[in-house]
Amino acid sequence: MTTPVPPSDGEKILLRMEGISKSFPGVQALSEAKFELRSGEVHALVGENGAGKSTLMKILGGIYHKDAGRILLDGEEMEITNPAMAQHLGISIIHQELNLMPHLTVAQNIFIGREPRGKVSFVVDDKTTNEKAAGLFELLNLRLDPNTKVADLTVANQQMVEIAKALSFNAKILVMDEPTAALTDSEIEELFTIIRQLRDKGVGVVHISHRLEELKLISDRVTVMRDGKYIDTLSTKDAKIDKIISLMVGRTIYESSPELPEKPNQEVVLEVRNLNRGRVLREVSFDLKKGEILGFAGLIGAGRTEVARAIFGADAYESGEIFIKGKQVHIKSPGDAVKHGIGYLSEDRKRYGLALAMDVKENVALAAMRKFLKMLGWVDYKKAAERGREMTAVLNIKTPSLEQKVKFLSGGNQQKVVIGKWLTADTEILIFDEPTRGIDVGAKSEIYKLLNDLAHQGKAIIMISSELPEILRMSHRVLVMCEGRVTGVLNASEATQESIMKYATMRSDVMLASA
């Protein structure tokens, strides 16, 4: 008896989207997609990147305009033409990229566009704004000061501000596009508590996520999309994760061999000794071997990215030594790092990894331009194109042409372009910072395969990841950090979720007590 349950009296249908099509230049983003949301349900929307989830929701939010189809709210057909109208209709969307104004205060952000006014209508009443925000936080059990600037908040707290803002509209429909991507487990639990409260009040919640484990915890139904089309809607209770994944990708998935061969007696490529920077890095030391994937685990803010940036010359460090193949090096800039064969793949590809408005072949050549120069600084585009073609083939980059601007590629393919760039620059040491963040399951496994291949070819790899399953699956060894210190280095055989978490929460007072 797994046939779809008809909505009971308490669960009326809030939203129905039918036959929605939308095309962008060169891409059919949606073709006849549909979606249905009942009141008092959490409805997960899943699919690979580029499946059209965000586009569908942006049409609902009045940000994009559909080419065809209809949207019914409470059974009534609506043309949603702009974001303000969507808000007015009780639709609130929390976008994938945080959409806050960092220079304004928390309260000012929440009430932007509908500020409480003073006696004269063009004067804003900040006192009332702050009071209303404080009231909202109390309701949501959040400890936030309405008067702090958003720029001074952690990413998690900024996320909470977004949620508070969405809720302050008395939304009937709340869409959350990957709300948990930047949150820690305890923060996710807090968020889910809030979502459940809302659901119980009759709000319809759309939850877009790449973390499929979450679906079981929070959602009632799940709709799968693929290539801009509606595939299926299942009751989460009855659906197996495997089943959902196969619906999402429509093909089998690469699994890396669970037991990674230990690689003894390998040459040490990178040696870091006693790296210090203020309270961010404290006495950080470790070795990285040839052909090894060294996982960097830890909670957000433990200093993993900071280590990577210091090694890569993006940030200065105060003291410490770095050796490459036994020779001490002084890396003062990313340029130095590249010369020494180090490549860094930032967690924020769009900001730090790619020249978005340039095409695939140009991006691939970017870190090793010298290789593609002819006399007088002329760029040898033929050679660059050749290299681009080679990389597209080797890395299986899906792009209509080498001249495609990378901003039009999906997240997984963008990541591959960045990898291609560093391979072109002859790097021996590759630092991956959250290599699969915001990347869908199918592309994820391709990235894993790539990492393994690179290690096999003898590259030394540091992989920073906040997803423990990823760390456990990929790493030969796991380095764990907490509060700027290396608290443990585990072999693949010793590493478990529990052991890593133990070291990841080993704060300095505990260490002192045990010393």
């Binding site: 702009n82 974001p83 959409n99 960092p102 220079h103 804003v124």
Partner: protein
């Protein structure tokens, strides 16, 4: 104990990084300039000279008020100098050529500036022309129109002596004997107070910051970005119009060839005052201090007989230093 030191260190650092600190530093620099010049020259520290500095700040200060708003949105307005000229010429045309009453002429000047700003705003927000290009175009248009309308000749206000009294008379002097601060200075401070209230208290001010902080987020919050951006450039145009009326009154004439270069002085004042060219941050108080730093510097160097060409070199250096200090302040 260590945690305590860390905490106090953090407090000191956050104090140094705060916006208030920026203004304290700018104000400190201004006081320092006054002390140095006062010691260096007895001619500097006279009441007449102080009044001179105030008067010299009036026009640039008013221009810079409007530019502050534009720069906080992350935009730029290169046209304020010649918009000012155009407003002055329009005032001249109304009062001298057409023999209209003085208040009508003043209104015409203000309106001319406001209209130019309104056009700027629409070109930027609806035609989606980058502010730099849109206002560069307006710079030329205004310069040309000023020359066309005035037929290349200055327009004098000799028939209407009351017009010159607007800027150069002294209401303060008639209340307090001997305290002959010209009205232009009062107008500057009055305009600054109004501008500051608009920026910090009104919905327009709020959206000015919001636009500069994250325009896309502002748009997605349901704010009509085009309307408010247009409003900001219109306001900037209004202040340029006011500056035009002021300079016409001060010179007792509308000089159609004057005005190019004023926009750069205004931008310099805004930047020295700590407003970030990347948007989202800034204050009117900072801008006023910035404008005073420029005119004090010019005045003091002139009294010390530093040639004018070297004054320019010093001003340029100060602009770069001010911004560099600001960058140091923000750096962790």
């Amino acid at each position: 104990m260590t945690t305590q030191t860390i905490k106090s260190e953090r407090n000191v650092r956050s104090l140094f990084r705060s916006d208030a600190m920026q203004r304290v530093m700018a104000f400190g620099a201004l006081i320092l300039l006054f002390i140095v010049f006062s010691v260096a020259s007895p001619f500097f520290r006279t009441f007449e000279n102080f009044v001179g500095i105030l008067l010299a700040t009036a026009v640039n200060g008013v221009l810079a008020l409007g530019v502050t708003f534009v720069i906080i949105t992350g935009g730029i307005d290169l046209s304020v100098g010649t918009v000012m000229t155009f407003s002055a010429v329009m005032t001249g045309v109304f009062i001298t050529n057409w023999h209209m009453p003085v208040p009508i002429g003043i209104l015409a000047g203000l309106l001319a500036g406001t209209l130019a700003g309104f056009v700027n705003g629409n070109v930027i927000s609806r035609m989606k022309i980058p502010p730099f290009i849109a206002t560069l175009g307006m710079l030329y248009i205004m310069k040309g129109l000023s020359l066309v309308i005035s037929q290349l000749h200055p327009i004098y206000f000799n028939d209407t002596p009351i017009f010159q009294q607007m800027a150069m008379g002294s209401i303060l002097g008639s209340i307090v004997r001997g305290f002959d601060v010209p009205n232009a200075v009062l107008i500057l401070f009055g305009a600054a107070i109004v501008a500051s209230l608009i920026l910090t208290r009104t919905i327009l001010g709020r959206y000015t910051f919001a636009l500069g902080s994250n325009e896309e987020a502002t748009r997605l919050s349901g704010v009509n970005v085009a309307v408010w951006k247009t409003a900001v450039y219109t306001l900037c145009g209004f202040f340029a119009g006011l500056a035009g009326v002021l300079i016409a009154s001060r010179l007792n004439s509308a000089q159609p060839a004057l005005g190019s270069g004023y926009e750069l002085d205004a931008i310099a004042a805004v930047v020295i005052g700590g407003t970030s060219l990347s948007g989202g941050e800034g204050s009117i108080l900072g801008t006023i201090i910035g404008a005073f730093i420029i005119s004090t510097l010019t005045n003091g160097l002139r009294i010390l007989s530093v040639p004018q060409e070297w004054q320019l070199v010093v001003t340029g250096t100060i602009v770069i230093l001010a911004v560099f200090l600001d960058i140091l302040r923000r750096r962790r």
